[in-house]
Symmetry: C2
Subunit: 170 residues, 2 copies
């Protein structure tokens, strides 16, 4: 079955964006193979806030990749090129049952928390950037759920000191 993979860059203190949403601290290691990283996906899941922060307003998305935006307020008519859903349980369960490549849970943290609580996340991958942000958008907002992980992959990118860790949910 296709996996739902939460993949994000994170500061050592657990933030995926700065206090004002900054991403200027994310260094891109020349050793990172984006083709391999993203070629495993054909579907992207986004929360509404992340969608609005990353879409330029022109609609669309990536060629060959289907995007799903989860929101209770966003209207389908206002979001061209993506599918809007207010029912993550149904939509993601359906997607996982369909054939295809893995599914990239792009973020943000709130959508990760929702899907984690619904037990729909299979894999968590973080690229730990060597910085302490001291505040910002957490990898995982507060939740009473504790989740065990199993380390399945690790890679150190020597040029920037980025450490990529991938875990399976257990």
């Amino acid at each position: 079955m296709r996996k739902v993979v939460y993949s994000a860059a994170m500061s050592l203190d657990g933030y995926i964006a700065g206090p004002k949403g900054e991403s200027d601290w994310i260094v891109i290691d020349p050793g990172l193979d984006f083709g391999a990283m993203f070629g495993r996906f054909d579907t992207i899941l986004l929360g509404r806030k992340t969608y609005e922060a990353t879409s330029s307003g022109g609609g669309g998305g990536m060629p060959g990749v289907k995007s799903y935006v989860f929101s209770r307020t966003l209207q389908q008519a206002d979001a061209r090129g993506v599918t809007v859903s207010d029912d993550p349980l149904q939509t993601v369960t359906d997607l996982k049952a369909q054939p295809g490549k893995d599914i990239w849970l792009f973020g943000g943290g709130s959508l990760f928390r929702s899907l984690l609580e619904l037990e729909l996340v299979d894999t968590v991958g973080v690229a730990i950037i060597p910085v302490l942000l001291g505040g910002g958008v957490p990898l995982l907002p507060e939740t009473p759920e504790r989740a065990g992980l199993r380390l399945v992959e690790h890679q150190v990118y020597e040029k920037t000191g980025t450490v990529r860790l991938e875990y399976a949910l257990v």
Copy 2:
């Protein structure tokens, strides 16, 4: 000069203890060489809360190791076997200038933040335990200071999937 090293076990989402101070999620990998890990230190720095949580009330400390507790309220007479200071800048600056082994900033996060803001921390080491806690005591409480890091060491403990990363402050 002796280094001040913040060394802690951390969940993947950046907590050093659970919401109620729990440490039951910390798995000890059989490959961890505690002798080597702790033999590099002869001095320990603790915040008041961490001191109270870890001391059994009987005073004392580890043989051959000097402990310093930082607090604005704790009285020296109430803390046997440790040195109490209300002036981290002066005390830690003095300690670093003295000969000796490295200095273990044991925690908690608040003392780490204070010493980070005073630019007295040289090294941050985290043992990332494969778990998402969803809340608790953060590695670093919120601070406006952003701190750059340089990865200096990494080790993966295969039995438990613990990943130990050590960074120099830059």
